[in-house]
Protein backbone atom coordinates (compact mmCIF):
# COMPACT_ATOMS: atom_id res chain seq x y z
CA UNK A 1 0.00 0.00 0.00
CA UNK A 2 1.51 3.40 -0.94
CA UNK A 3 2.35 5.73 1.94
CA UNK A 4 -0.02 8.61 2.64
CA UNK A 5 2.75 10.67 4.20
CA UNK A 6 6.36 10.44 3.19
CA UNK A 7 9.26 12.51 4.45
CA UNK A 8 12.23 11.83 2.19
CA UNK A 9 15.56 13.04 3.62
CA UNK A 10 13.94 16.25 4.79
CA UNK A 11 16.26 19.04 5.90
CA UNK A 12 15.77 22.63 6.94
CA UNK A 13 18.44 25.20 7.63
CA UNK A 14 17.83 28.64 9.13
CA UNK A 15 21.02 30.52 8.31
CA UNK A 16 23.81 28.48 9.89
CA UNK A 17 21.44 26.47 12.08
CA UNK A 18 20.35 23.03 10.87
CA UNK A 19 16.90 22.67 12.42
CA UNK A 20 16.18 19.37 10.66
CA UNK A 21 18.61 17.01 8.91
CA UNK A 22 17.94 13.93 6.81
CA UNK A 23 14.63 13.01 8.39
CA UNK A 24 12.79 10.21 6.58
CA UNK A 25 9.67 8.31 7.55
CA UNK A 26 6.38 7.11 6.13
CA UNK A 27 2.83 6.88 7.41
CA UNK A 28 0.32 4.54 5.78
CA UNK A 29 -3.49 4.78 5.65
CA UNK A 30 -5.09 3.74 8.95
CA UNK A 31 -1.86 4.29 10.89
CA UNK A 32 -1.26 6.62 13.80
CA UNK A 33 2.38 7.62 14.11
CA UNK A 34 3.61 9.54 17.13
CA UNK A 35 6.19 12.24 16.46
CA UNK A 36 8.30 12.68 19.59
CA UNK A 37 11.18 14.86 20.60
CA UNK A 38 12.15 17.38 23.26
CA UNK A 39 11.48 21.09 22.72
CA UNK A 40 13.59 22.44 19.86
CA UNK A 41 14.17 18.95 18.43
CA UNK A 42 12.71 19.96 15.04
CA UNK A 43 9.23 18.40 15.33
CA UNK A 44 7.28 21.53 14.46
CA UNK A 45 9.68 22.40 11.63
CA UNK A 46 9.22 18.88 10.22
CA UNK A 47 5.44 19.15 10.45
CA UNK A 48 5.49 22.60 8.87
CA UNK A 49 7.50 21.21 5.96
CA UNK A 50 4.94 18.43 5.56
CA UNK A 51 2.19 21.06 5.46
CA UNK A 52 4.07 23.21 2.96
CA UNK A 53 4.36 26.10 5.41
CA UNK A 54 8.15 25.90 5.23
CA UNK A 55 10.15 24.98 2.17
CA UNK A 56 12.74 22.28 2.91
CA UNK A 57 16.35 23.15 2.15
CA UNK A 58 16.95 19.46 1.46
CA UNK A 59 14.82 16.45 0.60
CA UNK A 60 11.15 16.34 -0.28
CA UNK A 61 7.79 15.71 1.41
CA UNK A 62 4.82 13.87 -0.06
CA UNK A 63 1.17 13.91 1.00
CA UNK A 64 -1.01 11.30 -0.70
CA UNK A 65 1.77 10.78 -3.25
CA UNK A 66 1.78 14.49 -4.17
CA UNK A 67 4.97 16.43 -3.71
CA UNK A 68 4.30 19.19 -1.20
CA UNK A 69 6.82 21.39 -2.98
CA UNK A 70 5.87 20.67 -6.59
CA UNK A 71 2.11 20.14 -6.25
CA UNK A 72 1.27 22.14 -3.14
CA UNK A 73 -2.42 22.54 -3.89
CA UNK A 74 -3.01 18.82 -4.46
CA UNK A 75 -0.97 17.93 -1.39
CA UNK A 76 -2.80 20.43 0.84
CA UNK A 77 -6.17 19.29 -0.44
CA UNK A 78 -5.44 15.85 1.09
CA UNK A 79 -4.11 17.30 4.35
CA UNK A 80 -5.77 18.35 7.59
CA UNK A 81 -3.26 20.26 9.71
CA UNK A 82 -3.60 21.43 13.28
CA UNK A 83 -1.07 22.75 15.75
CA UNK A 84 -1.86 23.58 19.35
CA UNK A 85 -1.26 27.29 18.93
CA UNK A 86 -3.61 27.83 15.96
CA UNK A 87 -6.54 29.95 17.05
CA UNK A 88 -9.97 30.42 15.51
CA UNK A 89 -11.54 33.48 13.90
CA UNK A 90 -12.95 35.27 16.90
CA UNK A 91 -16.01 36.83 15.34
CA UNK A 92 -17.20 33.78 13.41
CA UNK A 93 -19.42 31.06 14.83
CA UNK A 94 -18.15 27.46 14.65
CA UNK A 95 -20.54 26.70 11.79
CA UNK A 96 -19.46 29.80 9.84
CA UNK A 97 -15.84 28.85 10.41
CA UNK A 98 -16.39 25.31 9.14
CA UNK A 99 -18.26 26.63 6.11
CA UNK A 100 -15.44 29.12 5.40
CA UNK A 101 -12.75 26.45 5.38
CA UNK A 102 -14.98 24.05 3.46
CA UNK A 103 -15.32 26.69 0.74
CA UNK A 104 -11.55 27.26 0.69
CA UNK A 105 -11.14 23.52 0.10
CA UNK A 106 -13.84 23.82 -2.60
CA UNK A 107 -16.04 21.16 -1.05
CA UNK A 108 -19.29 21.17 -3.10
CA UNK A 109 -22.13 22.95 -1.22
CA UNK A 110 -24.50 19.99 -0.59
CA UNK A 111 -21.60 17.84 0.57
CA UNK A 112 -20.25 20.66 2.74
CA UNK A 113 -23.61 21.10 4.48
CA UNK A 114 -23.78 17.35 5.16
CA UNK A 115 -20.16 17.32 6.34
CA UNK A 116 -20.71 20.27 8.71
CA UNK A 117 -23.78 18.57 10.18
CA UNK A 118 -21.75 15.39 10.74
CA UNK A 119 -18.89 17.26 12.42
CA UNK A 120 -21.21 19.34 14.59
CA UNK A 121 -22.80 16.07 15.74
CA UNK A 122 -19.52 14.16 16.16
CA UNK A 123 -17.80 16.88 18.19
CA UNK A 124 -20.85 17.95 20.20
CA UNK A 125 -20.62 21.45 18.75
CA UNK A 126 -24.41 21.84 18.51
CA UNK A 127 -24.80 23.40 21.96
CA UNK A 128 -22.45 26.29 21.11
CA UNK A 129 -22.66 26.41 17.32
CA UNK A 130 -24.14 29.93 17.24
CA UNK A 131 -21.68 31.48 19.69
CA UNK A 132 -18.79 33.52 18.37
CA UNK A 133 -15.55 31.55 18.69
CA UNK A 134 -14.03 34.17 21.03
CA UNK A 135 -16.64 33.19 23.62
CA UNK A 136 -15.85 29.46 23.60
CA UNK A 137 -13.92 27.61 26.30
CA UNK A 138 -10.50 26.10 25.52
CA UNK A 139 -12.00 22.63 25.13
CA UNK A 140 -14.80 23.87 22.89
CA UNK A 141 -12.29 25.75 20.75
CA UNK A 142 -10.15 22.66 20.35
CA UNK A 143 -13.16 20.60 19.25
CA UNK A 144 -13.96 23.25 16.63
CA UNK A 145 -10.31 23.33 15.55
CA UNK A 146 -10.22 19.58 14.97
CA UNK A 147 -13.56 19.72 13.17
CA UNK A 148 -12.05 22.45 10.98
CA UNK A 149 -9.09 20.16 10.25
CA UNK A 150 -11.49 17.47 9.01
CA UNK A 151 -14.06 19.57 7.18
CA UNK A 152 -12.77 18.51 3.75
CA UNK A 153 -12.45 14.86 4.80
CA UNK A 154 -8.66 14.70 4.28
CA UNK A 155 -6.81 11.42 3.80
CA UNK A 156 -3.96 12.71 5.99
CA UNK A 157 -4.24 14.39 9.36
CA UNK A 158 -1.35 16.08 11.14
CA UNK A 159 -2.00 17.04 14.75
CA UNK A 160 0.67 18.92 16.67
CA UNK A 161 -0.03 18.74 20.41
CA UNK A 162 -3.80 18.71 20.02
CA UNK A 163 -4.45 18.06 23.71
CA UNK A 164 -2.30 20.88 25.10
CA UNK A 165 -4.21 22.94 27.63
CA UNK A 166 -7.18 20.60 27.72
CA UNK A 167 -8.59 18.93 30.83
CA UNK A 168 -8.63 15.16 31.11
CA UNK A 169 -12.18 14.78 29.74
CA UNK A 170 -11.57 16.97 26.72
CA UNK A 171 -8.24 15.22 26.04
CA UNK A 172 -9.87 11.81 26.19
CA UNK A 173 -12.55 12.94 23.76
CA UNK A 174 -9.91 14.11 21.28
CA UNK A 175 -7.81 10.93 21.65
CA UNK A 176 -10.81 8.67 21.07
CA UNK A 177 -11.71 10.64 18.00
CA UNK A 178 -8.19 10.33 16.60
CA UNK A 179 -8.31 6.58 17.11
CA UNK A 180 -11.68 6.28 15.32
CA UNK A 181 -10.46 8.55 12.52
CA UNK A 182 -7.54 6.22 11.77
CA UNK A 183 -8.99 2.84 12.55
CA UNK A 184 -12.54 3.28 11.23
CA UNK A 185 -12.01 5.87 8.48
CA UNK A 186 -8.55 4.78 7.33
CA UNK A 187 -6.88 8.14 7.69
CA UNK A 188 -3.12 8.42 8.10
CA UNK A 189 -2.41 10.39 11.28
CA UNK A 190 0.73 12.01 12.61
CA UNK A 191 0.33 12.85 16.22
CA UNK A 192 2.92 15.00 17.95
CA UNK A 193 2.80 15.27 21.72
CA UNK A 194 4.83 15.49 24.91
CA UNK A 195 2.45 13.07 26.67
CA UNK A 196 4.11 9.68 26.21
CA UNK A 197 1.20 7.85 27.84
CA UNK A 198 -1.02 9.13 25.03
CA UNK A 199 1.49 7.80 22.51
CA UNK A 200 1.55 4.35 24.15
CA UNK A 201 -2.24 4.18 24.07
CA UNK A 202 -2.74 5.51 20.59
CA UNK A 203 0.20 5.13 18.25
CA UNK A 204 1.14 2.21 16.04
CA UNK A 205 4.63 3.52 15.49
CA UNK A 206 6.82 6.34 16.74
CA UNK A 207 9.26 8.72 15.08
CA UNK A 208 11.73 10.20 17.53
CA UNK A 209 13.69 13.31 16.55
CA UNK A 210 16.50 14.83 18.57
CA UNK A 211 18.62 17.86 17.62
CA UNK A 212 17.05 17.79 14.16
CA UNK A 213 18.03 14.20 13.42
CA UNK A 214 15.97 11.04 13.29
CA UNK A 215 16.70 8.87 16.36
CA UNK A 216 14.14 6.16 15.87
CA UNK A 217 11.48 5.13 13.41
CA UNK A 218 9.51 1.99 14.19
CA UNK A 219 6.95 0.49 16.54
CA UNK A 220 7.04 1.02 20.27
CA UNK A 221 8.39 -2.47 20.95
CA UNK A 222 11.37 -1.86 18.70
CA UNK A 223 12.08 1.39 20.57
CA UNK A 224 11.97 -0.49 23.88
CA UNK A 225 14.18 -3.29 22.51
CA UNK A 226 16.71 -0.85 21.09
CA UNK A 227 17.16 0.81 24.47
CA UNK A 228 16.62 -2.22 26.76
CA UNK A 229 13.78 -0.41 28.51
CA UNK A 230 10.28 -1.50 29.45
CA UNK A 231 8.55 1.86 29.32
CA UNK A 232 8.38 4.23 26.33
CA UNK A 233 9.26 7.19 28.56
CA UNK A 234 12.53 5.51 29.63
CA UNK A 235 13.33 4.52 26.04
CA UNK A 236 12.69 8.10 24.92
CA UNK A 237 14.98 9.57 27.59
CA UNK A 238 17.66 7.05 26.64
CA UNK A 239 17.48 8.12 23.00
CA UNK A 240 17.54 11.87 23.56
CA UNK A 241 20.08 11.89 26.39
Amino acid sequence: MPASIEARNLGKRFGEVHAVQEVSFEVHPGEIVGLLGPNGAGKTTTLRMLAGLLAPTAGEAFINQHSVQKEPQLARRALGFLTGDMDLYRRLTPVELLAYFGQLYEVPQPELRRRIDELVEAFGIGEFKDKHCEKLSTGQKQRVSIARTLVHDPAVVVLDEPTTGLDIMASEFILQFIRRMAKENGKAVIFSTHHLDEVERLCDRVVIIHKGRLQHHGDIDSALAATNQTRLADAFFEMVR
Binding site: Q73, L74, L79, F81, M86, R90, R91, L92, Y100
Partner: protein, 406 residues
Amino acid sequence: MRTSIINTIFRKEILEVLRDKRTLYLVILLPFFLYPALFFLIGKVGQSQAGKMQQEKVTVLIDPALEQTPVPALIGSDPSFVIKVQAFDSQALAEEKTTIGIRVDGDYAAGLAANESVILRIAGDFSKDLLDGRKQSITGLLNKLNQSLLEERLQGVKLPPTFAQPLLIQEEDLAKPSQHIGKVLGAYAPMLLMLFIFTGCIYIAIDITAGEKERRTLQTLFTTPVNVREIIAGKFLAVACVGLASALMNLFSLVFAVLLQAKIMGGNVSAISLAISAQGWVWMITLIVLSTVFLAALSMAVSLLANSYKESQSYVSPLMMLVLIPAVMAQMPGMELTMTTALVPVLNICLAIGAIFKGAFSLPAMGLVVFFALLYGLLALYLASLIFGNENVVTGEKVSWKLLKG
Protein backbone atom coordinates in the same frame (compact mmCIF):
# COMPACT_ATOMS: atom_id res chain seq x y z
CA MET B 1 -6.38 32.96 -9.40
CA ARG B 2 -9.83 31.67 -8.53
CA THR B 3 -12.42 34.40 -8.07
CA SER B 4 -14.62 32.13 -5.92
CA ILE B 5 -11.78 31.73 -3.40
CA ILE B 6 -10.97 35.47 -3.43
CA ASN B 7 -14.66 36.17 -2.91
CA THR B 8 -14.84 33.69 -0.01
CA ILE B 9 -11.88 35.32 1.74
CA PHE B 10 -13.21 38.82 1.03
CA ARG B 11 -16.71 38.02 2.38
CA LYS B 12 -15.30 36.44 5.53
CA GLU B 13 -13.10 39.48 6.24
CA ILE B 14 -15.98 41.89 5.69
CA LEU B 15 -18.27 39.80 7.91
CA GLU B 16 -15.70 40.02 10.72
CA VAL B 17 -15.36 43.78 10.22
CA LEU B 18 -19.12 44.28 10.34
CA ARG B 19 -19.19 42.41 13.64
CA ASP B 20 -16.49 44.60 15.15
CA LYS B 21 -18.21 47.62 16.68
CA ARG B 22 -14.95 49.52 17.20
CA THR B 23 -14.03 49.30 13.51
CA LEU B 24 -17.55 50.24 12.45
CA TYR B 25 -17.37 53.33 14.65
CA LEU B 26 -13.99 54.36 13.26
CA VAL B 27 -14.81 53.60 9.66
CA ILE B 28 -18.45 54.52 9.18
CA LEU B 29 -19.85 56.61 12.01
CA LEU B 30 -16.92 58.92 12.75
CA PRO B 31 -16.30 59.93 9.10
CA PHE B 32 -20.02 60.45 8.50
CA PHE B 33 -20.74 62.63 11.50
CA LEU B 34 -17.47 64.55 11.38
CA TYR B 35 -18.40 67.46 9.14
CA PRO B 36 -21.97 68.06 10.36
CA ALA B 37 -20.64 67.94 13.93
CA LEU B 38 -17.69 70.20 13.09
CA PHE B 39 -19.83 72.73 11.20
CA PHE B 40 -22.46 72.71 13.92
CA LEU B 41 -19.96 73.03 16.73
CA ILE B 42 -17.87 75.69 15.03
CA GLY B 43 -21.03 77.64 14.11
CA LYS B 44 -22.56 77.35 17.57
CA VAL B 45 -19.41 78.00 19.53
CA GLY B 46 -18.44 80.86 17.19
CA GLN B 47 -21.89 82.44 17.54
CA SER B 48 -21.93 82.08 21.27
CA GLN B 49 -18.40 83.48 21.64
CA ALA B 50 -19.18 86.41 19.34
CA GLY B 51 -22.36 87.17 21.32
CA LYS B 52 -20.47 86.96 24.58
CA MET B 53 -17.77 89.31 23.32
CA GLN B 54 -20.36 91.74 22.01
CA GLN B 55 -22.11 91.91 25.36
CA GLU B 56 -18.99 92.33 27.43
CA LYS B 57 -18.33 95.96 28.46
CA VAL B 58 -14.92 97.45 27.75
CA THR B 59 -13.70 100.54 29.58
CA VAL B 60 -12.12 103.21 27.40
CA LEU B 61 -9.80 105.56 29.27
CA ILE B 62 -9.64 108.85 27.37
CA ASP B 63 -6.76 111.24 27.90
CA PRO B 64 -8.08 114.43 29.65
CA ALA B 65 -6.47 116.35 26.73
CA LEU B 66 -9.23 114.90 24.54
CA GLU B 67 -12.12 115.77 26.92
CA GLN B 68 -13.21 118.80 24.90
CA THR B 69 -13.02 116.99 21.57
CA PRO B 70 -15.72 114.89 19.79
CA VAL B 71 -13.77 111.73 20.68
CA PRO B 72 -15.45 110.83 24.03
CA ALA B 73 -18.96 111.27 22.60
CA LEU B 74 -18.08 109.37 19.44
CA ILE B 75 -16.68 106.34 21.31
CA GLY B 76 -19.49 106.58 23.88
CA SER B 77 -22.04 106.21 21.05
CA ASP B 78 -21.20 102.52 21.10
CA PRO B 79 -23.05 101.09 24.13
CA SER B 80 -20.45 98.36 24.63
CA PHE B 81 -17.93 100.97 25.79
CA VAL B 82 -17.76 102.63 29.23
CA ILE B 83 -16.04 105.99 28.87
CA LYS B 84 -13.78 107.37 31.59
CA VAL B 85 -11.81 110.56 31.04
CA GLN B 86 -8.60 110.03 32.98
CA ALA B 87 -4.88 109.82 32.42
CA PHE B 88 -3.41 106.31 32.21
CA ASP B 89 -0.08 104.61 32.43
CA SER B 90 0.79 102.26 29.55
CA GLN B 91 2.50 99.67 31.77
CA ALA B 92 -0.51 99.47 34.10
CA LEU B 93 -2.85 99.31 31.10
CA ALA B 94 -0.95 96.31 29.71
CA GLU B 95 -2.16 94.30 32.73
CA GLU B 96 -5.80 95.18 32.12
CA LYS B 97 -8.05 92.63 30.40
CA THR B 98 -11.03 94.85 29.59
CA THR B 99 -9.57 98.34 29.28
CA ILE B 100 -8.34 100.34 26.31
CA GLY B 101 -6.76 103.80 26.44
CA ILE B 102 -6.79 106.65 23.89
CA ARG B 103 -4.35 109.48 24.14
CA VAL B 104 -3.29 112.35 21.88
CA ASP B 105 0.21 113.50 21.00
CA GLY B 106 0.36 117.31 21.33
CA ASP B 107 -2.59 119.69 21.20
CA TYR B 108 -5.63 118.31 19.39
CA ALA B 109 -7.31 121.65 18.59
CA ALA B 110 -4.08 123.44 17.66
CA GLY B 111 -2.99 120.59 15.42
CA LEU B 112 -6.29 120.58 13.54
CA ALA B 113 -6.32 124.36 13.28
CA ALA B 114 -2.85 124.25 11.74
CA ASN B 115 -3.99 121.63 9.20
CA GLU B 116 -1.52 119.14 10.67
CA SER B 117 -2.06 115.44 11.38
CA VAL B 118 -2.97 114.92 15.01
CA ILE B 119 -1.73 111.59 16.32
CA LEU B 120 -4.25 109.60 18.35
CA ARG B 121 -2.87 106.50 20.06
CA ILE B 122 -5.04 103.52 20.96
CA ALA B 123 -3.33 101.43 23.65
CA GLY B 124 -4.14 98.07 25.18
CA ASP B 125 -3.18 94.38 25.24
CA PHE B 126 -4.36 93.46 21.76
CA SER B 127 -3.24 89.87 22.01
CA LYS B 128 -6.62 89.44 23.73
CA ASP B 129 -9.44 88.75 21.29
CA LEU B 130 -11.89 90.99 23.16
CA LEU B 131 -9.62 94.06 23.15
CA ASP B 132 -8.42 93.40 19.60
CA GLY B 133 -12.02 93.31 18.39
CA ARG B 134 -12.91 96.51 20.27
CA LYS B 135 -9.78 98.25 18.97
CA GLN B 136 -11.16 97.63 15.48
CA SER B 137 -14.52 99.15 16.52
CA ILE B 138 -12.76 102.24 17.93
CA THR B 139 -10.62 102.53 14.77
CA GLY B 140 -13.80 102.35 12.68
CA LEU B 141 -15.45 105.15 14.70
CA LEU B 142 -12.32 107.33 14.57
CA ASN B 143 -12.02 106.75 10.80
CA LYS B 144 -15.50 108.23 10.41
CA LEU B 145 -14.40 111.27 12.44
CA ASN B 146 -11.26 111.48 10.33
CA GLN B 147 -13.33 111.46 7.13
CA SER B 148 -15.64 114.20 8.34
CA LEU B 149 -12.66 116.34 9.46
CA LEU B 150 -11.07 115.83 6.03
CA GLU B 151 -14.25 116.92 4.29
CA GLU B 152 -14.35 120.05 6.52
CA ARG B 153 -10.78 120.92 5.56
CA LEU B 154 -11.51 120.41 1.86
CA GLN B 155 -14.64 122.53 2.13
CA GLY B 156 -12.49 125.26 3.77
CA VAL B 157 -10.32 125.43 0.65
CA LYS B 158 -13.30 124.91 -1.62
CA LEU B 159 -12.29 121.52 -2.89
CA PRO B 160 -14.65 118.56 -3.47
CA PRO B 161 -14.37 115.44 -1.21
CA THR B 162 -13.02 113.45 -4.19
CA PHE B 163 -9.95 115.71 -4.22
CA ALA B 164 -8.31 113.66 -1.50
CA GLN B 165 -9.21 110.40 -3.18
CA PRO B 166 -7.82 110.35 -6.71
CA LEU B 167 -8.41 106.61 -6.96
CA LEU B 168 -11.48 104.93 -5.57
CA ILE B 169 -10.70 101.24 -5.37
CA GLN B 170 -13.69 98.94 -5.57
CA GLU B 171 -13.43 95.19 -5.50
CA GLU B 172 -15.55 93.20 -7.96
CA ASP B 173 -15.41 89.55 -6.92
CA LEU B 174 -16.39 87.46 -9.90
CA ALA B 175 -16.14 84.19 -7.97
CA LYS B 176 -19.38 82.47 -7.12
CA PRO B 177 -20.05 81.71 -3.45
CA SER B 178 -19.52 78.06 -4.31
CA GLN B 179 -15.98 78.86 -5.46
CA HIS B 180 -15.17 80.47 -2.14
CA ILE B 181 -16.46 77.36 -0.39
CA GLY B 182 -14.43 75.27 -2.82
CA LYS B 183 -11.29 77.23 -1.91
CA VAL B 184 -11.74 76.51 1.79
CA LEU B 185 -12.77 72.89 1.28
CA GLY B 186 -10.02 72.37 -1.29
CA ALA B 187 -7.49 73.20 1.39
CA TYR B 188 -8.81 71.01 4.21
CA ALA B 189 -11.03 68.28 2.75
CA PRO B 190 -8.24 66.36 0.90
CA MET B 191 -6.26 66.02 4.12
CA LEU B 192 -9.29 64.75 6.02
CA LEU B 193 -10.13 62.39 3.16
CA MET B 194 -6.61 60.93 3.24
CA LEU B 195 -6.80 60.64 7.01
CA PHE B 196 -10.06 58.70 6.88
CA ILE B 197 -8.95 56.44 4.04
CA PHE B 198 -5.81 55.67 6.02
CA THR B 199 -7.71 55.12 9.28
CA GLY B 200 -10.20 52.90 7.47
CA CYS B 201 -7.40 50.84 5.94
CA ILE B 202 -4.86 50.58 8.71
CA TYR B 203 -6.99 49.08 11.49
CA ILE B 204 -8.48 46.34 9.39
CA ALA B 205 -5.07 45.76 7.74
CA ILE B 206 -3.52 45.26 11.18
CA ASP B 207 -6.31 42.93 12.25
CA ILE B 208 -6.15 40.70 9.20
CA THR B 209 -2.38 40.57 8.89
CA ALA B 210 -0.43 41.08 12.13
CA GLY B 211 -3.52 40.15 14.18
CA GLU B 212 -3.88 36.91 12.24
CA LYS B 213 -0.16 36.23 12.56
CA GLU B 214 -0.42 36.67 16.31
CA ARG B 215 -3.47 34.40 16.60
CA ARG B 216 -1.88 31.92 14.15
CA THR B 217 -5.00 31.91 12.03
CA LEU B 218 -2.87 33.03 9.08
CA GLN B 219 -0.94 29.77 9.41
CA THR B 220 -4.22 27.86 9.21
CA LEU B 221 -5.09 29.70 6.03
CA PHE B 222 -1.75 28.81 4.46
CA THR B 223 -2.36 25.10 5.08
CA THR B 224 -5.39 25.22 2.78
CA PRO B 225 -5.08 24.74 -1.00
CA VAL B 226 -5.26 28.49 -1.53
CA ASN B 227 -2.35 30.27 -3.13
CA VAL B 228 -0.71 33.39 -1.71
CA ARG B 229 -2.01 35.66 -4.46
CA GLU B 230 -5.60 34.61 -3.74
CA ILE B 231 -5.13 35.32 -0.04
CA ILE B 232 -3.61 38.73 -0.78
CA ALA B 233 -6.35 39.58 -3.26
CA GLY B 234 -9.15 38.64 -0.85
CA LYS B 235 -7.63 40.48 2.08
CA PHE B 236 -6.59 43.48 -0.01
CA LEU B 237 -10.12 43.85 -1.39
CA ALA B 238 -11.50 43.81 2.14
CA VAL B 239 -9.02 46.45 3.37
CA ALA B 240 -9.57 48.64 0.31
CA CYS B 241 -13.34 48.26 0.58
CA VAL B 242 -13.33 49.44 4.20
CA GLY B 243 -10.95 52.32 3.37
CA LEU B 244 -13.19 53.32 0.48
CA ALA B 245 -16.31 53.13 2.64
CA SER B 246 -14.60 55.40 5.13
CA ALA B 247 -13.61 57.90 2.41
CA LEU B 248 -17.06 57.91 0.80
CA MET B 249 -18.71 58.38 4.19
CA ASN B 250 -16.39 61.34 4.71
CA LEU B 251 -17.30 62.76 1.30
CA PHE B 252 -21.06 62.28 1.82
CA SER B 253 -20.67 63.89 5.21
CA LEU B 254 -18.95 66.90 3.65
CA VAL B 255 -21.60 67.41 0.97
CA PHE B 256 -24.38 66.88 3.51
CA ALA B 257 -22.82 69.34 5.96
CA VAL B 258 -22.34 72.04 3.30
CA LEU B 259 -25.94 71.73 2.12
CA LEU B 260 -27.20 71.70 5.70
CA GLN B 261 -25.16 74.76 6.59
CA ALA B 262 -26.43 76.58 3.52
CA LYS B 263 -30.01 75.76 4.44
CA ILE B 264 -29.51 76.88 8.06
CA MET B 265 -27.98 80.14 6.84
CA GLY B 266 -31.05 80.61 4.64
CA GLY B 267 -28.91 80.92 1.52
CA ASN B 268 -29.68 79.67 -1.92
CA VAL B 269 -28.64 76.06 -1.67
CA SER B 270 -27.94 75.62 -5.34
CA ALA B 271 -25.78 78.73 -5.47
CA ILE B 272 -23.80 78.04 -2.35
CA SER B 273 -23.35 74.33 -2.86
CA LEU B 274 -20.14 72.78 -4.19
CA ALA B 275 -19.07 73.84 -7.65
CA ILE B 276 -18.02 70.39 -8.79
CA SER B 277 -18.99 69.32 -12.28
CA ALA B 278 -20.01 65.77 -13.19
CA GLN B 279 -16.55 65.33 -14.70
CA GLY B 280 -15.03 66.63 -11.47
CA TRP B 281 -16.93 64.04 -9.47
CA VAL B 282 -15.67 61.27 -11.78
CA TRP B 283 -12.07 62.44 -11.29
CA MET B 284 -12.60 62.78 -7.56
CA ILE B 285 -14.00 59.24 -7.19
CA THR B 286 -11.16 57.89 -9.39
CA LEU B 287 -8.57 59.62 -7.22
CA ILE B 288 -10.21 58.40 -4.02
CA VAL B 289 -10.24 54.82 -5.34
CA LEU B 290 -6.56 55.04 -6.37
CA SER B 291 -5.45 56.55 -3.08
CA THR B 292 -7.39 53.79 -1.31
CA VAL B 293 -5.55 51.17 -3.38
CA PHE B 294 -2.23 52.76 -2.44
CA LEU B 295 -2.98 53.20 1.26
CA ALA B 296 -4.62 49.76 1.59
CA ALA B 297 -1.61 48.00 0.05
CA LEU B 298 0.85 50.11 2.06
CA SER B 299 -1.05 49.43 5.31
CA MET B 300 -1.01 45.70 4.61
CA ALA B 301 2.69 45.65 3.73
CA VAL B 302 3.70 47.56 6.86
CA SER B 303 1.37 45.64 9.18
CA LEU B 304 2.81 42.36 7.92
CA LEU B 305 6.24 43.37 9.18
CA ALA B 306 4.91 43.22 12.74
CA ASN B 307 4.52 40.06 14.71
CA SER B 308 1.66 41.17 16.89
CA TYR B 309 -1.26 43.57 16.97
CA LYS B 310 0.54 45.67 19.58
CA GLU B 311 3.76 45.86 17.57
CA SER B 312 1.95 46.86 14.41
CA GLN B 313 0.19 49.67 16.28
CA SER B 314 3.61 51.19 16.90
CA TYR B 315 3.97 51.46 13.12
CA VAL B 316 0.73 53.42 12.79
CA SER B 317 2.10 56.81 13.91
CA PRO B 318 5.13 56.90 11.57
CA LEU B 319 2.94 55.71 8.72
CA MET B 320 0.34 58.35 9.55
CA MET B 321 3.09 60.98 9.43
CA LEU B 322 4.00 59.70 5.99
CA VAL B 323 0.42 60.34 4.92
CA LEU B 324 -0.21 63.55 6.84
CA ILE B 325 2.98 65.46 6.00
CA PRO B 326 2.30 65.56 2.23
CA ALA B 327 -1.39 66.17 2.96
CA VAL B 328 -0.51 69.19 5.15
CA MET B 329 2.03 70.39 2.58
CA ALA B 330 -0.79 70.46 0.03
CA GLN B 331 -2.51 73.16 2.13
CA MET B 332 0.45 75.51 2.01
CA PRO B 333 -0.02 78.75 0.09
CA GLY B 334 1.23 78.60 -3.47
CA MET B 335 1.41 74.79 -3.51
CA GLU B 336 0.07 73.74 -6.88
CA LEU B 337 -0.17 70.67 -9.04
CA THR B 338 2.91 70.65 -11.28
CA MET B 339 5.01 67.99 -13.02
CA THR B 340 7.08 67.74 -9.82
CA THR B 341 4.29 67.69 -7.25
CA ALA B 342 2.38 65.16 -9.38
CA LEU B 343 5.20 62.71 -8.61
CA VAL B 344 4.87 62.88 -4.83
CA PRO B 345 2.52 60.24 -3.39
CA VAL B 346 -0.43 61.58 -1.37
CA LEU B 347 0.61 65.21 -2.11
CA ASN B 348 -0.39 64.71 -5.75
CA ILE B 349 -3.81 63.31 -4.82
CA CYS B 350 -4.44 66.08 -2.25
CA LEU B 351 -3.54 68.80 -4.73
CA ALA B 352 -5.66 67.19 -7.44
CA ILE B 353 -8.70 66.84 -5.14
CA GLY B 354 -8.14 70.41 -3.95
CA ALA B 355 -8.16 71.59 -7.58
CA ILE B 356 -11.44 69.73 -8.18
CA PHE B 357 -13.05 71.42 -5.15
CA LYS B 358 -11.90 74.81 -6.49
CA GLY B 359 -13.31 73.90 -9.89
CA ALA B 360 -9.91 74.59 -11.47
CA PHE B 361 -8.43 71.38 -12.77
CA SER B 362 -6.89 70.51 -16.10
CA LEU B 363 -7.18 67.19 -17.88
CA PRO B 364 -3.42 66.66 -18.47
CA ALA B 365 -2.67 67.31 -14.79
CA MET B 366 -5.42 64.92 -13.69
CA GLY B 367 -4.18 62.28 -16.13
CA LEU B 368 -0.67 62.62 -14.74
CA VAL B 369 -1.84 62.29 -11.14
CA VAL B 370 -3.98 59.26 -11.99
CA PHE B 371 -1.00 57.63 -13.74
CA PHE B 372 1.36 58.11 -10.80
CA ALA B 373 -1.30 57.22 -8.21
CA LEU B 374 -1.94 53.99 -10.08
CA LEU B 375 1.79 53.31 -10.32
CA TYR B 376 2.33 53.84 -6.58
CA GLY B 377 -0.73 51.73 -5.79
CA LEU B 378 0.63 48.85 -7.85
CA LEU B 379 4.09 49.20 -6.31
CA ALA B 380 2.60 49.11 -2.81
CA LEU B 381 0.59 46.04 -3.79
CA TYR B 382 3.72 44.37 -5.14
CA LEU B 383 5.54 45.15 -1.87
CA ALA B 384 2.63 43.67 0.10
CA SER B 385 2.69 40.50 -2.01
CA LEU B 386 6.46 40.23 -1.59
CA ILE B 387 6.12 40.40 2.18
CA PHE B 388 3.13 38.06 2.18
CA GLY B 389 5.11 35.46 0.29
CA ASN B 390 7.83 35.53 2.94
CA GLU B 391 8.10 32.20 4.77
CA ASN B 392 8.25 33.95 8.13
CA VAL B 393 4.86 35.57 7.61
CA VAL B 394 3.39 32.11 7.07
CA THR B 395 4.76 30.78 10.33
CA GLY B 396 4.08 33.96 12.29
CA GLU B 397 7.74 34.82 12.80
CA LYS B 398 9.53 38.12 12.25
CA VAL B 399 9.83 38.93 8.54
CA SER B 400 13.30 38.25 7.22
CA TRP B 401 14.53 40.91 4.81
CA LYS B 402 17.06 38.44 3.46
CA LEU B 403 14.26 36.09 2.42
CA LEU B 404 12.36 39.03 1.01
CA LYS B 405 15.26 39.97 -1.21
CA GLY B 406 15.80 36.37 -2.23
